[in-house]
């Protein structure tokens, strides 16, 4: 049985080689100092087993295993590592064993026992009627390429799965990242293994269905972690994300090609993208029919700033963009309401905008206009004074000239108007 040993540390490689030679059942036929080197050798000659280190620069052992498992499903994968935390992933990668460094000869012997099954003379094997199949070691490990197809074609099978992910999926990115039912808007009760898994999903959704370079991912999500460790983190997170998606959003696919990742949504809509798309078209087509209910619906998508809850640094620029767009849309709606004589609605909307940003003079001006149109002199006066106080107390500035002039004009019109009314 021929084995390949991959480890970026020479002493570790030599230690394992020595142990294998001492046992004699497995030939350490190739010693590689990187996963890349190992993959190149694998493409050239056949091996039965690969002993893989996990923590390695560039491509780590988990990534390499995933690749090997796909490309050469018959090869037995054994992890040899100082990390203890990836054993669950190792099971998922169908590894045959997971050895913690430093490896001792007795432990390795047990590994080899599993890899090189006892010959036909062993009574246990004969008992089980499998002697013929365990004759060659390569033959026995070749079974690793199992099919996951279900037999029997039971039509009811999918109904008893624990989760019933529907294809009506909506991705919510306002305030916090959530996957929701498109019909009810009800968020699915996702359990994120780590905050980084969630950030990874957010980051992959951020640019649309575009390829994202692996290095950019690492730089943004694990900026302060050494490269080697960061790439292990990335791999683990990708793994966990794929697992989550399979369960909760099976139409979404996370692809990897040429050092880049891409997330295909399988048709699931993203609230933020809809907001951007329909929002900007509403701003240009201001005379569209049903524009008011449409705009109201659109504004109701806003559950808070873009990924605001998570405070991701890379999301900041788009968050500001979206905030601007939202204020612009809300002002547009308030102005339509004012023109339609729906003063209360307009005041309510503008007051809530003012609460979020008390210095926004655009909001203040429209509020004054609305009060003036409604003939509410007190509201007009108070809204101007409030804006003025906030600006002078908190920022130490006067309202813009435009605001002052507007106030004076509205004030004047009101006095004239009410004078007329009184007379």
């Amino acid at each position: 049985m021929r084995a390949m040993l991959i480890d970026d540390e020479k002493p570790a490689l030599m230690h394992l080689e020595r142990l294998l030679r001492a046992d004699g059942r497995i030939e350490p036929a190739a010693l590689c100092m990187s996963a890349r080197e190992g993959l190149e050798r694998l493409a050239q000659e056949p091996f039965d087993a690969v002993f893989l280190d996990i923590g390695m620069p560039e491509m780590n052992g988990l990534e390499a295993a995933e690749y090997i498992q796909q490309a050469y499903p018959g090869i037995a994968i054994l992890f040899v590592t100082a990390y203890s935390e990836y054993a669950v992933e190792a099971f998922e990668l169908q590894a045959i064993d997971y050895l913690l460094k430093p490896i001792g000869a007795p432990r390795l012997r047990r590994t080899i026992d599993r890899l090189v099954p006892p010959g036909p003379e062993t009574s246990d094997a004969a008992d089980k009627g499998e002697a013929a199949s365990s004759g060659s070691a390569a033959g026995t490990v070749s079974g690793l390429s199992d099919s996951i197809e279900r037999t029997g074609g039971s039509p009811a099978s999918s109904q008893s799965a624990p989760s019933k992910p529907s294809s009506n999926l909506e991705i919510l990115m306002f305030r916090r990242l959530e996957l929701a039912d498109a019909q009810t808007g009800e968020p699915r009760p996702l359990k994120w293994r780590t905050a980084k898994v969630q950030e990874l999903l957010a980051y992959l959704l951020h640019p649309g269905e575009q390829w994202v370079r692996r290095d950019d991912l690492i730089e943004c999500i694990w900026p302060d972690v050494p490269m080697e460790k960061a790439s292990t983190h990335l791999h683990t997170s990708v793994y966990q994300l794929r697992k989550m998606l399979k369960e909760w959003a099976p139409q979404m696919k996370l692809e990897y090609r040429q050092e880049s990742y891409r997330l295909l949504r399988g048709g699931a809509a993203v609230d933020v993208e809809r907001f951007e798309r329909e929002g900007s078209s509403l701003l240009t087509l201001t005379d569209a029919p049903n524009r008011m209910p449409h705009l109201k619906r659109l504004l109701s998508l806003w559950r808070g700033g873009y990924l605001e809850h998570h405070d991701y640094e890379w999301a900041g620029a788009r968050a500001s963009e979206l905030k601007r767009l939202r204020v612009q849309l809300a002002l547009t709606l308030a102005d339509w309401e004012r023109q339609a004589g729906q003063y209360e609605e307009a005041v309510r909307l503008l007051s809530s905008l003012r609460e979020e940003d008390p210095f926004a003079e655009g909001v203040g001006r429209l509020l004054m206009r609305t009060y003036a149109d409604a003939g509410d002199q007190r509201g007009l006066r108070e809204s101007y004074q409030l804006l003025r106080e906030r600006l002078s107390e908190d920022l130490g500035v006067e309202p813009e000239q435009q605001t002052q002039q507007l106030y004076e004009r509205l004030q004047h019109e009101q006095n004239a108007g009410s004078g007329r009314k009184r007379s």
Binding site: I96, R114, L115, K128, E130, I148, G152, S163
Partner: protein, 137 residues
């Protein structure tokens, strides 16, 4: 009769037992396994001592088992079981990642994290089918 003998591709059903101290979890796993028509759920229990008796009596091919039943360690439980049933394939189904290394030490067949996804279970099942004749690999 030796229940563990599957010569060649004889279409004898693979026999599974489910043991989980949490009755609901036990039922969920058992229900998910019923999706596979070439597998037979021979029994299930949420009581380890009752389970032990049944497993010894039935001699299943595979055992889906928690890593803990109250204060009883599922790994210790299986370690003992392996002496009597050396061909038994142990698949841990658990909420904790804690015992995965030990599971490897024990040559467990697989280690699944709760909540169990049907996708992941399908892979375990596929491998069980594949290795039905062999001790493990």
């Amino acid at each position: 009769m030796k229940p563990s003998v599957f010569p060649g591709k004889g279409m004898k059903k693979l026999r599974i037992y489910v043991l989980d101290g949490d009755e609901d979890a036990c039922a969920i796993t058992a229900r998910m396994l019923t999706d596979y028509t070439d597998f037979e759920l021979v029994g299930r229990s949420s009581d380890p001592s009752l389970g032990l008796q049944e497993i010894m009596r039935l001699g299943p091919d595979a055992l889906f088992v928690e890593t803990k039943f109250g204060s009883v360690s599922g790994l210790a439980f299986c370690e003992k079981l392996r002496i009597d049933l050396p061909g038994l394939r142990v698949v841990y189904v658990t909420a904790t990642r804690e015992y995965a290394i030990e599971a490897f030490e024990q040559q467990a067949f697989d280690y699944l994290i709760k909540p169990l996804s049907s996708e992941r279970l399908a892979r375990t099942i596929g491998r069980l089918r594949h290795f039905r004749g062999n001790v493990r690999f």
